[in-house]
């Protein structure tokens, strides 16, 4: 079974600064997808960014980028120019590419990000 570990329960960053959230995972599979989801106090999970394991190029979405290290099974999220609206719980998630796994996401425990003005 796959596992996802987020070793930072809490992180804080000053507005306009850069912060990196860590995630490691364990799998024996070669084809999979990795995600970062954001969960603000409104509770709704919002997709921030996703990475296909077969792609060597790191995914970027505006101020959000990832550092995907497949051999090390590491998938960190970098938030540049942090904004007050970035404050939320961030979850790293894994999904297998096997057809039998369907949509099943395996989540980490989350990192609570605080943005200080």
């Amino acid at each position: 079974a796959q596992t996802v570990t987020q070793s930072q329960p809490e992180m804080s960053v000053q507005e306009a600064e850069t912060v990196t959230l860590s995630c490691t995972y364990d799998t024996s599979e070669s084809d999979y997808y990795l995600f970062w989801y954001k969960q603000p106090p409104s509770r709704q999970m919002i997709l921030v960014i996703r990475q296909e394991a077969y792609k060597q190029q790191n995914a970027t979405e505006n101020r959000f980028s990832v550092n995907f290290q497949k051999a090390a099974k590491s998938f960190s999220l970098k938030i540049s120019d942090s904004q007050l609206g970035d404050a939320a719980m961030y979850f790293c998630a894994y999904r297998s590419d096997k057809e039998t796994s369907g949509s099943r996401l395996t989540f980490g425990e989350g990192t609570q990000l605080t943005v200080n003005p």
Binding site: S42, L47, G102, S103
Partner: protein
């Protein structure tokens, strides 16, 4: 366009009761997945339904059941409620069952409190 909608938003039950949670996927989405998120933890996968059939089940007891209707909406049922069932229940919909084009969109969840 409406996103994933869940009802009710908050529910209070007592131990031993039964509860039904509802989810309407994004229009055109045929897959619905359910997750349980206990306070302070990441969501745990419960079920996936695709084209009205169960396509995956997580490590949950038989007290948990679900179904998907012809309009692709879904219900999650939990029988004989325990205090440990208190959690946020999230529904996610996606266009396809899995693979590269599968992106899940989540609803705001139903907060279940068992007293």
């Amino acid at each position: 366009d409406a996103g994933v909608t869940q009802s009710p938003t908050h529910l209070i039950k007592t131990r031993g009761q039964q509860v039904t949670l509802r989810c309407s996927p994004i229009s055109g989405h045929k897959s619905v997945s359910w997750y349980q998120q206990v306070l302070g933890q990441g969501p745990q996968f419960i079920f996936q339904y695709y084209e009205k059939e169960e396509r995956g089940r997580g490590n949950f007891p038989d007290r948990f059941s679900a179904r998907q209707f012809p309009n692709y909406s879904s219900e999650l049922n939990v029988n004989a409620l325990l205090l440990g069932d208190s959690a946020l229940y999230l529904c996610a919909s996606s266009l396809v069952r899995g693979g590269g084009k599968n992106i899940q969109y989540f609803g705001a969840g139903t907060r279940l409190s068992v007293l």
